[in-house]
């Protein structure tokens, strides 16, 4: 047995609620050597998490490992009894979940939870475990390593919690650690710290790792080898350099292509685009009690001004908590502004949506980040899309049905999808339906609030392409809110950088490299590149990081 992990012809079946068996993992084989980090990459539903979990001999409820061998340090996890498997979980093999926030118990201290596994498996006395934990906290460059263990999970930030989850996994000196999309929920500026910490700890301890992700750029920084999965099958395996430079499989190429900077559309009507469609002046909005001067105590958006011209797109970028989503809600009238003016198409808008006219509401549509919650799960797609048609345009049943077909064509969805419920659609399909509903109103401006961040890279870039096409055809304007620079760069004519509720800088995409404000510099330099040496070579101004990277 030369390799630490040898998976041979793994098959996993899932049972649907009709009792039908579906093979979700078909004949997967992979090897992981000692101390090697292997990335499993693929779109959602490709089976990457299922494969990773199977290394612990675990199949999620409703799934069953039906064939093949999973040899981890010489033992076949698939054949072991549940009791035997439980013994190796947490000691030989450890797991770092996607959402550390959900993985920690809010009612006990961090230290208790980090050393819990040593107590369960009786690995070492608690005193020694605590010492070991503090060492790990130091190694993961957590602030205040001596004292952080006494805190409760809600008292540390998301990036810190993710590193603490890694400490929890590493405390028992496992041979293999499974990382399940550990940085997907983090900001780019935070992601870097976490990635760096993971990389140094794994390298120092010689621990082997499985890194599940859909982000090729992140994987390029941390993995030695990459396994590309699609539809439960291995498409391609190779070293990171091989995959990045000489991918053979079409799907891998598609993944890589999604990273390439796209040629931006040239505006033929550049002169015509000087009429402002939306102008907001010194808008302030926030939460909490209202002070004597009429402004809220906590200001999420502080005196922000912006202009969107007809047929042009504005990108708003910044980390989570910078007020960009609140800004979108203020413009749409969901969260009324405390001060400032909103002028849309030459007329001043009321601050709350309820007071705006139906026509004004129709002309400005907002599309939300999570299509899961933005689509009513109890209604079929056709009802969802046809409601704005009935409400704004008063179309009769036949006209609506025809228009629903047209809209589905427009967003490149098959017409037969109209009878499905949202739960029966994939993430990308849901987001398209979400978008088709906004289009149904026939708006002039669409506010897109992080609409691609819940999607895989390939799907996201397809959605962006679609938005561009629709813009050409329908003469729309977009306000594009995102934390992902590459997305904003691809579609926007101007980019507004927000930090702490304020507008930091307004630049055009071609000048991103030459941004002047220090925060923009930090933000733009934190976006991972496909180059595997990028993370190691990255030098960040420590003063900048301490000033703005407050996590």
């Amino acid at each position: 047995m030369s390799n630490l992990v040898e998976v041979r012809n793994l098959k996993i079946e899932a049972k649907t609620d009709a009792g039908r068996l579906v093979e979700i993992i078909k004949d997967v084989s992979l090897d992981i050597a000692d101390g090697e980090i292997v990335a499993l990459i693929g779109e959602s539903g490709s089976g990457k998490t299922t494969v990773a979990l199977s290394l612990m001999g675990y199949a999620r409820p409703g799934c069953r490992i039906t064939g093949g061998e999973i040899n981890v340090s010489g033992r076949n996890m698939a054949a072991l009894s549940e009791k035997e498997r439980a013994k190796s979980r947490g000691t030989d093999i450890a797991y770092v979940p996607q959402s550390a926030a959900a993985a920690f118990n809010p009612s006990s201290t961090i230290m208790e939870q980090v050393i819990e596994v040593t107590r369960i498996h009786k690995l070492m006395p608690p005193e020694q475990a605590r010492k070991r934990a503090v060492e790990l906290f130091k190694a993961l460059s957590l602030p205040d390593p001596e004292g952080i263990g006494a805190r409760y999970p809600h008292q540390v930030s998301g990036g810190q919690l993710q590193r603490l989850a890694a400490a929890m996994a590493l405390i028992s000196d496992p041979k293999l650690v499974i990382f399940d999309e550990p940085t997907t929920a983090l900001d780019v500026t935070t992601q870097i710290d976490v990635l760096k910490a993971f990389k140094s700890v794994m390298r120092a301890g010689g621990v082997a790792g499985v890194y599940v992700s859909h982000d090729l750029a992140v994987v390029a920084q941390i993995a030695d080898r990459i396994v590309v999965l699609k539809g439960g099958e291995v498409q391609e395996t190779g070293t990171t350099a091989q995959i990045l430079s000489a991918a053979r499989h079409p799907y891998t190429r598609e993944l890589l292509a999604a990273f390439e900077p796209k040629p931006r559309q040239a505006h033929a009507d550049a002169d015509a685009g000087t009429k402002p469609l939306l102008r907001i002046d010194n808008v302030t909005a926030g939460y909490g009690a209202v002070r004597a001067d009429g402004l809220p105590v906590i200001r999420a958006v502080n005196s922000v001004s912006l202009v969107v011209e007809k047929g042009r797109n504005l990108g708003v970028i910044g980390e989570s908590g910078c007020g960009k989503s609140t800004l979108a809600r203020v413009i749409a009238g969901i969260h009324p502004a405390a001060a400032g003016d909103i002028v849309f198409d030459g007329r001043e808008l009321e601050r709350t949506a309820r007071k705006r006219s139906q026509e004004q509401l129709r002309e400005m549509q907002i599309v939300f980040q999570y299509a899961d919650t933005a689509l009513n799960p109890a209604k079929p797609v056709e009802d969802i899309i046809s409601r704005p048609l009935a409400f704004y345009h008063r179309l009769d049943r036949q006209a609506r049905s025809k228009r629903v077909d047209e809209l589905l064509d427009m967003v490149r969805l098959p017409r037969t999808l109209r009878y499905r419920h949202p739960s029966e659609l994939s993430g990308g399909q849901k987001q398209r339906v979400n978008f088709a509903r906004a289009l149904a109103a026939h708006p002039k401006l669409i506010i897109c609030d992080e609409i691609t961040s819940a999607l895989d890279t390939v799907v996201a870039s397809a959605v962006i392409e679609l938005l561009k096409e629709l813009q050409r055809e329908l003469g729309l304007s977009y306000i594009f809110i995102s934390h992902d620079l590459s997305v904003v760069e691809a579609i926007c004519d101007e980019i507004m950088v927000m930090y702490n509720g304020e507008r930091v800088e307004l630049i055009t995409p071609d000048k991103v490299k030459a941004s002047t404000h220090p925060y923009s510099k930090l933000l733009f330099s934190s976006v991972p590149k496909l180059d595997p040496t990028w993370l190691d070579g990255l030098v960040r101004d420590p003063e900048l990081v301490s000033r703005y990277g407050h996590r």
Binding site: K15, T16, R20, I334, A353, A374, R387, F391, E424
Partner: protein
């Protein structure tokens, strides 16, 4: 493999999967409903007629469930009792759930002072013990079927309101509600088309549960002599009338008790085993 076992005990029909327990429970409920509807045509004796020389008579030919404390036919009285128990409870639970759920959804969608006033008022209502409340109402306006239905409904509105409001508040925070609001939709559309379809299943389950509570409360009130007045009798009243039969273990007291138990337990079991729609995409 508990999941596999649970799945195999269900069978599918018309795109839904059923469990055996649920089907049996549904049959019991259906039987009682049919009896409630057709009772006047199938009872062998009139409920007021004294047909036995002895009281608390045993089961025998002609008097299949024996006789009660006056020598009346128990079978006829139980069958007619189904009519009152099921009918009154159903009417009361319908009123209670309809008003409670409507108010709950309106409160959740509107929020603000309306929500606060409604919630506090109904909380205050909730704090009155239900039997005591029934006692006071019956003492004040007397015992008639409409009065009983309304009293029972009023007692159970706060619970239905709380339940529906809690569900609707969760739905209300979803983005599709915001989308509908920004579209300029009316409250009627919001609660009818966006919220109701998402909470209808738990609301129906609650409906069934509340039906059981009302059957038990009605039986309790009747047992105390506050429910239906003689010679009419629902199951609760039958138990009370014939409580003297306990030492003789006569069917007169056992049968109505069993009737109450069979109906309430069946409703409970049906709620827990409602058919589930199969949402298998490619099957």
């Amino acid at each position: 493999m508990t999941i596999a076992r649970a799945a195999s005990s269900r069978r599918s029909f018309l795109g839904h999967s059923y469990s055996l327990v649920g089907v049996v429970a549904a049959l019991v409920i259906l039987a009682w409903t049919l009896i409630a509807i057709f009772a006047p045509y199938i009872i062998p004796h009139s409920i007021g007629d004294i047909v036995d020389d002895d009281y608390f008579g045993p089961m025998r030919q002609g008097l299949w469930l024996g006789s009660d404390y006056l020598g009346r036919d128990m079978l006829s009285r139980v069958l007619m009792g189904a009519r009152y128990t099921v009918g009154i409870s159903l009417a009361a639970v319908s009123i209670a759930c309809f008003s409670g759920v409507m108010l709950g959804m309106i409160a959740a969608v509107t929020g603000g002072w309306l929500d606060t006033c409604l919630s506090r008022f109904l909380d205050a209502m909730n704090s009155i013990p239900s039997k005591l409340f029934g006692l006071v109402v019956v003492a004040a306006v007397g015992s008639s079927i409409p009065a009983l239905i309304l009293t029972l409904a009023v007692i159970y509105i706060p619970g239905a309101y709380r339940f529906a409001r809690a569900l609707a508040v969760n739905i209300n925070t979803m983005d599709f509600m915001t989308v509908a609001r920004v579209r300029g939709e009316s409250i009627a559309y919001l609660i009818g088309s966006e919220i109701l379809p998402n909470i209808i299943r738990p609301v129906l389950a609650d409906f069934g549960l509340r039906f059981v509570f009302i059957v038990l409360l009605l039986s309790g009130l009747s047992f105390l002599g506050l429910g239906l007045q003689p010679p009419l009798a629902d199951w609760g009243a039958l138990v009370r009338e014939n409580i003297g039969a306990l030492p003789f273990a006569a069917p007169a007291v056992i049968v109505p008790s069993l009737a109450i138990a069979s109906l309430t337990i069946s409703v409970n079991l049906l709620i827990d085993n409602l058919p589930q729609k199969i949402r298998d995409r490619d099957a």
